[in-house]
């Protein structure tokens, strides 16, 4: 029987990991990820899981330890945020390029400086070209569900890439919500037996990981990573379909909220999507044809889906919770470049919001929609929601 629990997003992720019972968890605490590891450490201390937990001295070591564990053939997990993810940066790329099916939960938090511990997406966006699959949760339920789904995507023989489960720091990680969790047995069956490829501990088939790769072969290995990403949408959809059977919750590459007849579409990642849905409900009462396109997956970027969904609409408003200094904000960049190839281009506008945990309210969202209603979107202008001039 599914169980309804009032828990935080951090506990939801830890609970999913308890059910998955990974072989190795190596992590270093950082706000607001800390409770994920605290909850999990308690499962280890209580003997509820068989996991080898490695308390490391830094995030660089945490990622290095899970890389080693995954290469040896273990199911490995870590979690981090902000500066912690930045400290992992070097090894984040190595995890992807060694094609290791690691899962990492990221409680998204602003990068310093000035020092800030609250939510924005600059940490994950700095890793968007690292070769990791990026899933983005809107709430604790999605954070739980994506954690359950992650290994099946990562370990698929056509994929073999690490998965980052992003959930907004504090807003999701520390906010208590009702989360419907699945039975342990159901999760165990769903995850299935780990699909191992080239485990180091298989000593009768010795392999070498991490040897030097010069100009003669490095390029070919990068091309393989490009190719692996192409399989992700298909595998994600398959896993999502299977997950729907056990949970009743349907996921896709994109969450379409009131999109069918929408003329004005907003695009945003993470928890803000919830506020947008609320605002859409209000605007719909006034007869406004508004909708939300919420990416559940940001890397790979399912360009074709955006083209299908945005072709012929009146206007598209893209909200970014991180800036790209000297260039367009990351989500906006990707959406705008997807629109280059479509037949009937909508008006498009870029709005940066919520940096360093700045609150975003229905009024802000309405304000951006109003600009779109008036036809006042300028493709090359970046605007800011909730910023003092």
């Amino acid at each position: 029987m599914p169980l309804k629990q009032a828990i935080t997003g951090a506990e939801a992720v830890a609970y999913a990991m308890k059910q998955i019972n990974p072989d190795v968890v190596a992590a270093y605490p950082i706000t607001p990820q800390t409770p994920v590891v605290e909850y999990f450490a308690k499962y280890v201390a209580d003997g509820v899981v068989d996991t080898e937990m490695i308390p490391v001295e830094s995030e660089h070591s945490a990622m290095s330890a899970v890389v080693g564990a995954a290469a040896s053939g273990a199911r490995a997990f870590t979690a981090t945020a902000s500066a912690g993810l930045a400290l992992m940066h070097e090894i984040v790329f190595i995890a992807a390029s060694l094609r290791l099916p690691i899962v990492m939960a990221v409680a998204n938090r602003a990068l310093s400086g000035p020092l800030n511990i609250h939510c924005d997406h600059s940490d994950a966006m700095a890793e968007r070209d690292s070769g990791w699959i990026q899933l983005w949760a809107e709430n604790a339920q999605e954070a739980y569900d994506f954690t359950v789904m992650a290994y099946k995507i990562a370990e698929h023989k056509d994929v073999r890439l690490p998965v980052m489960v992003n959930f907004d720091g504090f807003i999701i990680s520390h906010g208590v919500e009702v989360v419907e969790t699945l039975d342990d047995e159901l999760v165990k069956d769903f995850i299935g037996k780990q699909i191992k490829m080239y485990p180091l501990l298989d000593t009768s088939n010795p392999v070498t990981y991490g040897s030097i790769d010069m100009y003669d072969y490095y390029f070919e290995h990068k091309r393989q990573q490009v190719e692996a990403m192409k399989y992700v949408p298909k595998v994600f959809k398959e896993v999502a379909e299977e997950f729907a059977k056990i949970s009743g919750r349907k996921y896709d590459l994109i969450d379409e909220y009131m999109l069918d007849d929408a003329e004005y579409i907003m695009i945003a990642l993470g928890s803000t999507a919830g506020t947008i849905k609320h605002t859409i409900n209000e605007l719909r009462k006034e007869g406004k044809k508004v909708g939300l396109l919420k990416p559940w997956i940001f890397r790979p970027f399912p360009k074709v889906e955006y083209q299908r969904l945005l072709n012929g609409r009146k206007a598209v408003v893209v909200l970014d919770r991180s800036a790209s200094f000297g260039a367009e904000a990351p989500l906006y960049q990707s959406v705008k470049s997807a629109l280059y190839e479509i037949a009937v281009k909508p008006q498009i506008g870029s709005y940066v919001y919520g940096l360093g945990g700045r609150d975003i309210t229905p009024t802000h969202i309405q304000q951006a929609f109003e600009d779109a209603f008036k036809g006042d979107l300028i493709v090359d202008e970046e605007r800011y929601l909730g910023l003092r001039e």
């Binding site: 390029s97 060694l98 990981y209």
Partner: protein, 116 residues
């Protein structure tokens, strides 16, 4: 070197799926300085063999004891570690390098051997 493969024909992740493949890699092409053995000065201490990172010291057993026989230039990358650790290259009193003809290993520019 073997013919280079395309990306579709390679194992993923830069993995090497068979052991001992370093043997096929001619690190000798990296060499800028070449170690040259002067056997008349060698005391067979085997320091060079112990320290060489590429197992390029050729050893032969004579009466059950190892003797330094020279270098395997296929793999010797010319790092000079052997010459550096060789006790015959340093005067034990002054701790200064001894004259070249008294050393057991000398490092010569690879360009001296272009004829070969």
């Amino acid at each position: 070197m073997a013919e280079l493969k395309g990306w579709k024909d390679l194992p993923i992740g830069g993995l090497v799926l068979e052991p001992g493949t370093a043997k096929k890699y001619r690190t000798g092409t990296w060499r800028v300085l070449r170690p040259v053995f002067q056997p008349e000065n060698c005391i067979s201490c085997m320091f060079c063999w112990l320290y060489c990172p590429d197992q390029s010291i050729v050893v032969e057993l004579v009466d059950g004891k190892p003797k330094m026989k020279g270098f395997d230039y296929y793999s010797c990358k010319g790092c000079g570690l052997c010459a550096n650790v060789c006790p015959k290259n340093i005067d034990p009193k002054t701790k200064q390098p001894v004259a070249e003809e008294k050393r057991a290993i000398i490092m010569k520019p690879e360009t001296d051997f272009v004829e070969e």
